[in-house]
């Protein structure tokens, strides 16, 4: 035992230094300011302590499924026409809840074999179920459906990330939240004005260039009347985006727009804010090679016609095509500088595959976060000092032993947070408190046992020996029970519960080291210095 004492002391010193490094790293300067800055950069504080915005978004995955089904319907119509199969109708029977269902009606019985063959060739990801009266139902295979939904969540995450990144928020967290919920967690430290961020994140920003067939009309009715009450099959009525902004009342603007788009957002390569020839804010965009070729073909064929820039199903601008355009375009409108910046940002970062809804928002103002840290730290220090004074009064010199253990425990715990990059949250602080409580408890258990042994007439060395041996079992039981529960909480719990579980688990592991191992080393070195038979201060 005594022979190893030096080795053990060195071991303790190395461990403590390693974790102390975890807390402060190598600071640029060793004065108070440098140290504080260094600690701040290593210990990550949760938003509840630092201030910032925490959002949970729901991706409406059914929208992505629906647009996939729409695409499939278009292709299917083409394919059936080519194969000379007649049909009465192809539609989504329940587009809101089950957009993965497509219904084909009115195919004559003699073509059913042919229909089967076409579907099997063209749509390997779909199952074909027969229904009554020449009705056929196509259903996306569950695996393909799950993949599509998951892909749209991932795409939404990427899109949101690029949008948030360009906002210049430091260290944003953007990740999938929960299993199979299609939710996204977004944490934006330091953002105290979430409205604008939310606005940018939420809009789908689907840019399309379509042909404008008529308008503007003052109202929907007027537009219908101008077209003889029946719209052409390949056209839709669309509201103008500028009408809401126009001063002097809610004057509406409607356009007749082609159903098919000449170019869509996916073909956009770049976009940036600019000014038009009158110095008004505008947005420039550049198309990809393929998109540019198609745009050129479209504009060549439609010189003299009107072209509509459609953003999220609203007409932003209508312009006459003067000459074929290759791959550059400009969107003007009554924008402010801020709006053109936001719009080009949204266009650059691509379209969201489906819209998103907000489920949860927590914004902690930086003043409140700072306040709660200040109060919390003050309270923790007062509590800790009170405990340490009491331990000294109650256990005399052995109290120092306990206090050293307690402080080292905190060093190791915080060092772990620094080394692992885990985040300290308010519930995490609860874990620290329980750790301190159990740290004190371990010492009390050992010391009380040593006292008992001394009372029964043992010599100090054997009383220390016995005290540690007897208390060890109890300490293991209490610690293992608590670590078991913490592990379970970590697995099944969400954010705050997890924060609690992490600090608790590490605090308790640290405690096994400080309260038992370190404490023993200190006792042994004290005993070693004492003369045989001298009393132990406990």
């Amino acid at each position: 035992m005594k022979k190893n004492l030096l080795g053990k002391t060195i071991f303790v010193a190395v461990v403590v230094l390693a974790f102390a490094f975890g807390i402060i790293g190598i600071p640029k300067s060793w004065d108070g300011k440098g140290l504080a800055a260094s600690i701040q950069s290593r210990i990550h504080l949760g938003l509840d302590l630092k201030g910032g915005t925490h959002l949970i978004l729901q991706v409406v995955v059914n929208e992505a499924v629906k647009s996939e089904s729409d695409r499939v319907i278009e292709r299917l119509k083409d394919e059936l026409r080519r194969a000379n199969i007649v049909y009465a109708e192809i539609r989504l029977p329940n587009e809101k809840d089950e957009p993965e269902l497509i219904e084909i009606a009115g195919v004559p019985p003699e073509s059913s074999g042919e229909l089967r063959r076409v579907v099997a060739d063209m749509l390997p990801d779909w199952d074909m179920l027969s229904g009554a009266e020449n009705r056929w139902t196509l259903r996306m295979k569950p695996q393909a459906l799950a993949q599509l939904k998951e892909r749209s969540v991932q795409q939404a995450i990427e899109t949101i990330r690029s949008r948030v990144d360009s906002l210049g928020v430091s260290e944003p967290v953007i990740q999938e939240h929960g299993l199979g919920q299609y939710q996204i967690l977004v944490q934006l430290p330091g953002v105290d004005d979430p409205a604008r961020v939310k606005d940018i994140m939420q809009s789908t920003a689907l840019l399309e260039i379509r042909q404008s067939l008529g308008g503007p009309y003052g109202s929907e009715q007027e537009a219908m009347a101008a077209n003889g009450g029946i719209l052409p099959a390949d056209a839709v009525l669309m509201r103008g985006a500028t009408s809401a902004r126009r001063e002097g009342g809610p004057q509406e603007e409607w356009y007749l727009i082609s159903r098919a788009s000449a170019v869509a957002g996916q073909e956009l390569r770049d976009s940036r804010p600019t000014r038009d020839e009158y110095g008004r804010p505008a947005v420039n965009f550049t198309l990809t090679g393929e998109g540019g070729r198609r745009f050129y073909a479209f504009t060549s064929a439609h010189v003299g016609d009107s072209l509509a820039v459609v953003l999220d199903n609203r007409v932003v601008e209508v312009a006459r095509i003067e000459e074929p355009i290759r791959d550059q375009g400009r969107i003007t409108g009554s924008f402010t500088d801020q709006q053109t910046q936001d719009l080009s940002l949204k266009l650059r970062s691509g379209a969201l595959p489906a819209s998103i809804q907000y489920r949860e928002e927590r914004t902690v103002g930086p003043s409140l976060g700072a306040d709660s840290i200040k109060d919390g730290v003050k309270a923790a220090i007062i509590g800790l000092v009170a405990v340490m004074i009491f331990m000294l009064l109650y256990y005399h010199w052995a109290g120092i032993n306990a206090n050293v253990g307690l402080l080292l425990n905190l060093v190791i715990l915080l060092g772990f947070l620094g080394l692992s990059g885990a985040t300290l949250t308010l519930p995490g602080i609860a874990g620290v408190i329980l750790t301190v409580g159990m740290g004190v408890d371990s010492n009390v258990l050992i010391f009380e046992r040593i006292r008992e042994e001394l009372r029964s007439g043992k010599t100090p060395p054997s009383a220390v020996d016995q005290g540690f041996a007897r208390a060890w079992l109890t300490i293991v039981d209490t610690h293992v029970t608590t670590i078991v529960s913490a592990a379970i909480l970590f697995i099944f719990g969400t954010g705050p519960v997890r924060g609690f579980a992490v600090t608790l688990t590490f605090g308790l592991l640290a405690n096994l080291f400080t309260a038992v191992f370190v404490s023993r080393v200190i006792f042994d070195s004290v005993l070693q210095r004492k003369e045989r038979g001298a009393a132990l201060s406990i």
Binding site: R362, T363, D441
Partner: protein
Amino acid sequence: MELFRNANYDFLGRKWLFMGGSAILLLVGLVSMGVRAGSWRVWEGVPLGVDFKGGTLVYVKFAHAPNEDQIRADMQEAGLANARIQRYGQPANNEVIISLEQKATSEEALDQGKVAIIQALSKNIPAGKLDLNNTGVQVLEERLLARDPLRAGSDAATRYAEVARDIAAYRDQERGGVLRSVEELRGHVDAAVLPVLQEEFFVSDFGVRNVEIVGAQVGAQLRRQAVLATLYALAGMLIYIAVRFEPVYGSAAVLAVFHDTLITIGAFSLANKEISLTVIAAILTLVGYSMNDTIVIFDRVRENLKLMRRVALAEVVNKSINQTLSRTILTSGLTFLTVLSLYLFGGEVLNGFSFALVVGILVGTYSTFGIAGPLVVLYYERKGSREGRGPVPVTADSKREREKIRAKA
């Protein structure tokens, strides 16, 4: 210094007193929740906060002492008749929580409540001006950039970003989130900036410090998850204790922890405080703490059972409680000291959290000797074991251990 030297209190003799006391505490909590729920379904009376119910919570700090009646009237005028207005923290801080319950259908329009509350509070806004107390750094920066009072030239963006950050930092850190006038910034910003600030901004008499909005669906989901995680954790503890001791010890310990949790929740209902996510963390803390306390005593019981073969279980348990009494009081006392300081000095955000711990540690300590120990004894007495003591698992290992202990004694 020493607390209980050779303590010998008759804890087990008073077991009915303890059980009765606990029953009363439980009942008081349940009745309080029943009254809250307005029916026999007491669980509906658990005072859940926004986290678990869905709703909007806005923490507002006022520049002057807030007039609650006025706020209430403002809210009603804005059509928010169901808004709850609550003072919190020290009166000098002028802080108020305004909360709205979430209607299950408005999941999509999550923001509306917040926006409505803030609009109801911002009356008499000078046209075209922005509220300096409720403006984010970015908007502040944009406004300054547009006016360019410093004639900053090419590095304008960085210059104004810095000025905006300084202003926000002064407001948030020095003034606690609320400026009383734009004039207050004199000396803290460049003299050229101040007139522009006065032209572009005004100060309202409030600042929003914290916003929590949770959809009802999310709330229900969180509630289920928190309860499940806690139950799983308890099950894990039960299994571990059952293996290390005996199943009845595990059950008794878990029952005691349930008892503590229920009483703490009852206390929240009585004190009219809401249970939030952080309170759940506190309850988990007390579960761990109370369990720890119980295991220490059970451990002693196990040890004593091996030493005192011919003594009735009740007496062994009583002796064990007395032997560990010093430790129980010491540990609990010291932990109580820590959480009390958290409750008293820890600020408003930690209030619910530390309240749960203050109550929980008292109850958790008491349940250790008042409930968990007696439950084990009651079980074996009921089981009809003649000597009133349970079968001690005798393994080769424990036999040897016992011999060793005897030889030493």
